[in-house]
């Protein structure tokens, strides 16, 4: 039996805020592009929690807001509303200077186009040294060599991007992203332009960086090979997180993947489109609270007419 004092203490005690422990936090994140009165809502109240050291994949149809989310998380774009925090830094209230420091030391990222990640007239090593120079003004060649070695492209260090394969270029790009020891790596379809074998190599490099350096890694991808190999896959639909697939290894060594729908803080839930189509659900559904679940039924004819 709790005493009144206990209850009072519990009421007065600060409740941990939503996602306080998360390394990356998005709460009701909104990004609207607006010109001449025309609005494009790219993110419509997205929620996301990622823990430190996680390796996750974000999947979604084209135009679902994946890249916008990644641009926001990398500090290249500023959200319109909501809350976005990466490694303890609030992305909405950052000054331009903070944002620059954030891009220099907190995040590293990799684009889909291999050519876009590297300066074509610098060698691999110089490309890795570039962020260091930009950030601190001095180049740590030893670290650059270590990174290239870790990612398996040590032999390319003297080559220019034009002299490397696409996979090698992307691995050098990962090394560039890791140059200033960021806490988070964001990759926008890093294997999008590569064949499956090379994709495997590049993904392997990302996973190695994640495991060995403990860097939180977020990969936006269409590639099922990538999506199937991460611990958690987050689906985005219409600018909102719609589903999560968790993977764990079963006792017999097999991989178990379970897909969950995401329930946001306001209690909203997105039903998978094929579920809705199969049961011809439209506009409204009937919910019934059972003992251990909630039942969702299509509205019956009488309901529709009422």
């Amino acid at each position: 039996m709790q005493s009144l004092a206990d209850l009072e203490a519990r009421a007065g005690a600060a409740k941990p805020a939503f996602g306080a422990a998360a390394h990356i936090l998005c709460d009701n994140l909104v990004r609207i592009y607006k010109t001449e009165g025309v609005e494009v809502v790219a993110l419509q109240g997205l929620d996301l929690l990622i823990d430190k050291g996680e390796l996750i994949a974000i999947v979604g149809a084209s135009g679902s807001g994946k890249s916008t989310l990644l641009n926001v998380l990398s500090g290249l774009d500023v959200p319109t509303a909501g809350l976005a925090r990466v490694a303890g830094m609030d992305l909405l209230s950052m000054t331009a200077k903070d944002r620059l420091r954030f891009r220099r030391f907190v995040v590293g990222f990799i684009w889909q186009q291999t050519a876009r990640n590297l300066l074509p007239y610098l060698t691999a090593q110089e490309n890795v040294l570039l962020p260091m120079r930009l950030a601190a003004g001095k180049a740590d060649r030893v670290r650059a060599a270590e990174l290239l070695d870790l990612l398996g492209v040590a032999d390319c260090s003297g080559r220019r991007p034009g002299e490397m394969s696409g996979g090698q270029q992307q691995r050098v790009a990962i090394a560039v992203a890791l140059a200033n020891s960021p806490e988070v790596i964001l990759a926008d379809e890093p294997t999008g332009e590569l064949d499956s074998d090379t994709s495997e190599e590049v993904f392997g490099a990302l996973r190695r960086a994640n495991r060995e350096l403990g860097v939180t890694t977020v990969i936006v991808t269409h590639d099922p090979m990538v999506a199937d190999q991460v611990d958690r896959t987050i689906g985005i639909r219409d600018g909102r997180t719609s589903s999560e697939t968790l993977r764990r290894t079963s006792e017999d060594g097999g991989l178990i993947a379970e897909e969950y729908a995401v329930l946001d803080r306001a209690g909203r839930l997105q039903l998978p489109r094929d579920f809705m189509t199969a049961l011809d659900m439209e506009r409204r559904v009937r919910l019934e609270l059972e003992r251990d679940h909630i039942g969702v039924w299509p509205a019956n004819q009488g309901d529709e007419q009422s």
């Binding site: 592009y33 607006k34 010109t35 001449e36 025309v38 494009v40 641009n71 990398s74 500090g75 290249l76 774009d77 944002r99 620059l100 891009r103 220099r104 990222f109 050519a115 876009r116 990640n117 590297l118 300066l119 074509p120 007239y121 610098l122 570039l130 962020p131 930009l134 950030a135 560039v176 200033n180």
Partner: protein, 836 residues
């Protein structure tokens, strides 16, 4: 930065080349022009009679309280005058002392015979005594010693030892001399008439007065009782007067004149001679010569300012286009740097630095090369290259900073393009208003030295470009509507791409239009100047060949000339002056007796317009036209009956005179107007005839250094503008190549033929090009009228714009040529898109 530059070396090289050529022209052309202006100043002074370009101080001894009484005193006065001249004048004098004195009135020594006595400081060294010796001081105040030039003395029958008496004086001839070098310009310039008998015919006299010069003893003449005029001549060194100090020299001449004539009278402590005032006057033609020169100088400078201003705009525009192209090429690298943590100043430094690495050395080399152009070193001329480089770097920094102000600068395809901001519209309106207002001011006030006025023509071209850009979408929309009805989709697609590219067309149009406008203006000016000079040559001569012989031309000679092979037509005329008995005092007029109808036939096809002959009577200038009849005495006494008005006749100087054109009077022929070969005429004419030809006169007009360098400058700038305009089109084409290539690749995939692709590309680029060419050409042709009196070329040809027709053929050919070459390039470029 260097590696980034190396990665884009092609574009950077183009940028460097454009900067180099621009710097070279902007610094070199004014330099070359300054040289020819200086040359022109020197030539103007050198070819003028030396005494008109000298400053001569005359002092009448009778009106002076303390006239110099010895050669020493005259020499000291020379120094005194010189040192009291304004410093600017002192700076341009040749430093040779020239002074002397003559008696105020010539002395009569016989019937119609006169003696002028004088002395000059520099005469003794230029003569040689053939008998006797130089005159001494004489025996008293009334007995003088003189020496005479040999030839006149012989003519007068005076020998060595003779005594000449006049007005109570007796002059003993102690020497007979002759000039060491009679052809020495000294004699004709400073001592004209000293070595020969001077003949003059006084009014109403029937016999000439003869005058001999006697060289007196300088001291004796100065200290004697004869009234003496002193003169000190300060010769200007032609090379010392340049285009830059001419204005100061002119001002200083006025100051010197004030000093000499009306300044307060002070007496030099050392010489006791008045250094200012006291019967002294300054004689010089320098002020008139310099004023004329300065007028011409102002026109040349004004024209060059307009052309170079236009060139600077075109050059800046083309360089800005190239900087933008380079910026687009570097965009990926700079975006990556910015995204990877480069601060905005860093990215701006890199973007601006690459451009600086390309343009700064190029501007330096251009400026250095311009030093090879002979000319004065004027630091201000380096301003052009410096400004060009600075503008390019500033534009690069500004554009980079603007593009990369946000780390992510991708354009989303699903967001519509921004409309122009009110601020931009306000700026455009301001430029247009400034251009229009500036032109109005320029028309009323002239170009002057006002920097705003100098910028007006360039500003006007920019304003016109802005207006053209605003108007451009309307005809394009109309074309689009027409194209949409056609079955062939390619024209519609091409025009649609042109409409999409309209926002990117701002800079190309802002470059092309001024370039073509000034190019057309340059061409029309060069052409107009040539026409005007030709017309002026015709007007000065009056016929292809003009023969004048003061002794008269007998009828048989006229016949002989008529039959000379190579001579087509001959019109005899009598040209002279008379005093028309009009009104109370009469009127001095020029008289021409010529068969006007034959004259008209002679000059048919030339720029001259000769009035038709009246059925009877004469044509007269308007001030005499009201008379029913009046008498003249030349070529013979006759009564003139005015039957029409005439203002002027080519080749006849009517300055300050009336004009009477009579029917031909063959017995008084002294002028022949000829069409045909001048050489043949020359061979047939006796000595003593003056032959003038249109070609010769035209050469005289065009060979003036100022004119020739102006024409060269005009042509160089016109060609350079055409080249920059072409470069601008090429850069515009290359800038849009990637996007065009993407669109064409897509369209090829759905069945676009290569031919259609070419057509589409032409239609995409064509409208902007045609707009710029047409608007530029129209503005260029309209500029002479718009600028009106602001830039008056009459100093070059004696004619104003408007006095002769503007020929649009040359500018149209030039602008059309640029457009055709550009479109041909576009057409060929269109086929290349497929292979990408």
């Amino acid at each position: 930065m260097i590696r980034l530059l190396a990665a884009h070396r092609g574009t950077a090289a183009l940028l460097a080349l454009l900067t180099l050529a621009g710097s070279l022209l902007l610094a070199g052309l004014p330099r070359a022009l300054e040289t020819s202006l200086d040359e022109s100043a020197a030539t103007t002074l050198r070819t003028s009679p030396p005494l008109t370009t000298a400053l001569t101080v005359n002092l009448n001894g009778s009106y002076s309280f303390t006239p110099p009484k010895s050669i020493d005193e005259i020499a000291r006065a020379n120094e005194s005058w010189r040192s009291s001249m304004p410093p600017t004048i002192r700076g341009v004098l040749d430093g040779v002392p020239r002074f002397g004195h003559v008696i105020e009135h010539k002395m009569q020594i016989g019937r119609h015979r006169y003696l002028l006595l004088g002395w000059a400081n520099d005469m003794a060294s230029r003569i040689r005594y053939v008998a006797g010796e130089a005159p001494g001081p004489g025996d008293g105040p009334k007995r003088l010693e003189i020496s005479l030039p040999a030839k006149p003395a012989a003519e007068f029958g005076i020998k060595l030892g003779d005594t000449i008496s006049f007005e109570g004086y007796q002059a003993v001839v102690t020497g007979i001399w002759e000039p060491l070098a009679p052809e020495d310009p000294y004699w004709s310039t400073y001592q004209n008439g000293r070595t020969e008998v001077v003949k003059t015919r006084p009014p109403l006299a029937d016999e000439d007065d003869l005058q001999i010069f006697g060289l007196a003893n300088g001291d004796a003449l100065a200290s004697g009782a004869l009234r003496v005029l002193y003169s000190w001549t300060f010769q200007v060194n032609p090379a010392a007067v340049t285009a830059r100090n001419a204005r100061d020299v002119l001002d200083a001449v006025a100051e010197a004149d004030r000093m000499v004539t009306s300044g307060p009278q002070t007496v030099s402590v050392t010489t006791g001679i008045p250094v200012q005032g006291g019967g002294s006057t300054l004689f010089t033609g320098l002020d008139r010569i310099l004023t004329e020169f300065l007028d011409r100088l102002a026109t040349t400078r004004a024209l060059m300012v307009v052309l170079l201003g236009g060139f600077a705009v075109a050059c800046l525009g083309t360089i800005a286009l190239t900087v933008r192209l380079l910026g687009a090429r570097m965009h990926g690298s700079l975006s990556l740097m910015r995204a990877r943590g480069a601060a905005l100043p860093k990215v701006t430094t890199v973007g601006g630095g690459v451009v600086a690495l390309a343009v700064a050395p190029a501007a330096l080399v251009g400026a250095a090369l311009s030093l090879l152009v002979p000319g004065p070193s004027l630091p201000i001329l380096l301003l052009g290259p410096v400004a060009l480089a600075a503008a390019a770097i500033a534009y690069a920094c500004g554009a980079t900073a603007h593009t990369h102000r946000q780390p992510l600068n991708e354009r989303r395809d699903d967001v519509v393009a921004r409309r122009p901001s009110p601020r931009r519209i306000a700026l455009e309106v301001l430029v247009v208003l400034l251009g229009a207002g500036g032109v109005q001011l320029l028309r009323s006030r002239g170009l002057g030295d006002d920097p705003f006025m100098m910028a007006v023509p360039a500003l006007l071209t920019v304003a016109a470009a802005l207006v053209a850009l605003r108007v451009y979408p309307f005809p394009l929309r109309l074309l689009l509507r027409l194209a949409a009805r056609r079955r062939d989709a390619a024209p519609y697609l091409g025009l649609a791409m042109a409409a999409r590219a309209a926002t990117g067309a701002t800079l190309p149009v802002l470059t092309l239009l001024p370039a073509l406008a000034i190019c057309a203006y340059g061409a029309v000016t060069a052409d107009g100047l040539a026409t005007a000079q030709r017309l002026a040559a015709w007007q000065r001569v009056g016929a292809e060949v003009r023969v004048e012989r003061s002794e008269g031309i007998p009828a048989d000679l006229v016949e002989r000339i008529r039959k000379t092979p190579g001579v087509d037509q001959v019109v005899p005329a009598a040209v002279g002056r008379t005093h028309a008995e009009v009104g109370w005092q009469g009127r001095d007029t020029a008289v021409v007796a010529v068969d006007l109808n034959a004259y008209r036939k002679l000059v048919a096809g030339s720029p001259l317009d000769i009035p038709a002959a009246p059925a009877s009577g004469a044509l007269v200038s308007s001030d005499m036209a009201a008379m029913a009849s009046f008498d003249v005495t030349w070529p013979e006494r006759l009564a003139v009956q005015p039957k029409g008005k005439i203002a002027s006749l080519p080749g006849v100087d009517t300055t300050g005179l009336g004009l009477i054109v009579l029917p031909a009077l063959p017995q008084h022929t002294n002028t022949l107007l000829i069409s045909g070969d001048a050489e043949a005429v020359k061979a047939a004419m006796p000595a003593g005839t003056v032959i003038r030809t249109v070609d010769g006169t035209l050469t005289e007009i065009t060979s003036v250094p100022l004119t020739s360098s102006l024409m060269t400058g005009l042509r160089v700038v016109t060609l350079a503008l055409a080249a920059y305009a072409l470069a601008a089109v090429a850069i515009m084409l290359v800038s849009g190549a990637a996007e065009r290539s993407r669109a064409l690749t897509l369209l090829h995939a759905i069945g676009l033929t290569r031919r259609q692709a070419k057509g589409m590309t032409v239609l995409e680029v064509g409208p902007v090009l045609v707009l710029a060419v047409l608007a530029g050409l129209a503005l260029g042709l309209g500029l002479p009228t718009l600028l009106g009196k602001g830039i008056d070329l009459s100093a070059y040809a004696g004619l104003r714009f408007g006095d002769y027709p503007i020929d649009p053929v040359m500018p149209a050919l030039l602008a059309g040529g640029v457009a055709v070459v550009a479109l041909a390039g576009v057409y060929l470029g269109g086929s290349r898109a497929k292979s990408r």
